[in-house]
């Protein structure tokens, strides 16, 4: 059974590596760890997770930083938050969280992650309960500061195995629907069915 301190170190390492990998792969930029903390946030992205650990992974940005990163993703110039910015930030967090999940799984600590949520406001602050552990690292990239935070509890006595496929099944039978559509839309061109 991993000790609390070992889990914390694994999380810190997974967070740093995942952020570095995401920013360098997607944006061809190198984030650097920033000294000091930012305590007021304009944009918060959050994704929940449950399993061996449960909690939230969050990333916080300034509005300008959010627009900068999504502009780079889309090779476009976005100057004010719009639906693409919300979607893009969610995707950045998704990739960072996925990387943390993959790295933590290799240490024996598995969990599943939820879908991302993005909240925009001004001067928001984060609060957490006394029994929640926090790992937080600030980064700076092209003069934009962003924070990555993991707030978690460890299931030490009651390890929860994530379900094999945590997503609920669809209401439709994919095979059935596909067979009907293929039959309706089959034409003689390139017919090798």
């Amino acid at each position: 059974m991993l000790q609390q301190e070992e889990i914390k170190q694994n999380i810190e390492s997974a967070l740093f590596q995942s952020v570095s990998e995401t920013i360098s792969t997607v944006f061809s930029l190198t984030p650097e760890v920033a000294e000091g903390k930012q305590n007021d946030y304009d944009v918060i992205c959050s994704i929940g997770f449950v399993g061996c650990l449960e909690g939230h992974i969050l990333m916080t940005f300034s509005v300008a930083g959010a627009c900068f990163f999504v502009s780079k993703m889309l090779d476009d110039e976005i100057t004010a938050p719009n639906s693409d910015v919300v979607d893009g930030l969610g995707e950045i967090l998704n990739m960072v969280a996925g990387g943390i999940k993959t790295r933590m799984a290799s240490t024996g600590c598995s969990f599943d992650i939820s879908v991302p949520t993005v909240i925009q406001g001004e001067g928001m602050k984060l609060r957490s309960g006394d029994d929640v552990s926090i790992v937080q690292t600030g980064f700076i990239c092209e003069k934009f500061f962003f924070n990555t935070i993991i707030a978690y509890k460890i299931h030490t006595d009651d390890v929860v195995d994530p379900p094999k496929d945590a997503l609920p099944k669809s209401n439709i039978d994919a095979q059935n629907v596909l067979e009907k559509l293929v039959s309706e839309n089959h034409t003689d061109k390139n017919s090798d069915c």
């Binding site: 969610g90 094999k164 669809s170």
Partner: protein, 129 residues
């Protein structure tokens, strides 16, 4: 020239993937779907024209896993190359995907660079041209 179907619930992710495909010089027409259910409809209606599917895993309504499981059971569409493009990068998940569709044409873990995506799709599109 066959079409490419991009399946991802993120509009930004679809735009990024399409941008990479276009910048790489591929002129295939691109179709899009925002979840597995939509992908079933698009694929079923256009299966003879689609030469490649790029598919995310975690999507609302129907996951990418459920989508490829269904596709694998219908012979005329089962042979269309599908490349998973997903944040699910653990060995367990990769194994799960290949068990769901034994002829999966590739697996690209997010985050990916433009070159990584191009490497995965170029051989497939080259065979078709």
């Amino acid at each position: 020239m066959k079409k490419i179907l991009v399946v991802d619930d993120s509009g930004v992710q679809r735009k990024m993937i399409i941008g990479i495909i276009k910048k790489a010089g591929f002129e295939n027409e691109i179709m899009e779907a925002g979840d597995g259910e939509q992908a079933i409809q698009v694929l079923g209606a256009n299966f003879q024209d689609i030469g490649l599917v790029l598919c995310d895993w975690n999507m609302p309504k129907m996951s990418g896993l459920e989508f490829i499981e269904g596709v694998a059971k219908v012979p005329p569409v089962a042979k269309i190359p599908i490349v998973m493009v997903t944040t699910e990068g653990t060995e367990d998940k990769i194994k799960q995907a290949y068990e769901a569709h034994s002829n999966l044409a590739g697996y690209v873990a997010k985050p990916f660079s433009p070159d990584q995506l191009k490497t995965a799709i170029m051989p497939i599109l080259a065979r078709q041209s």
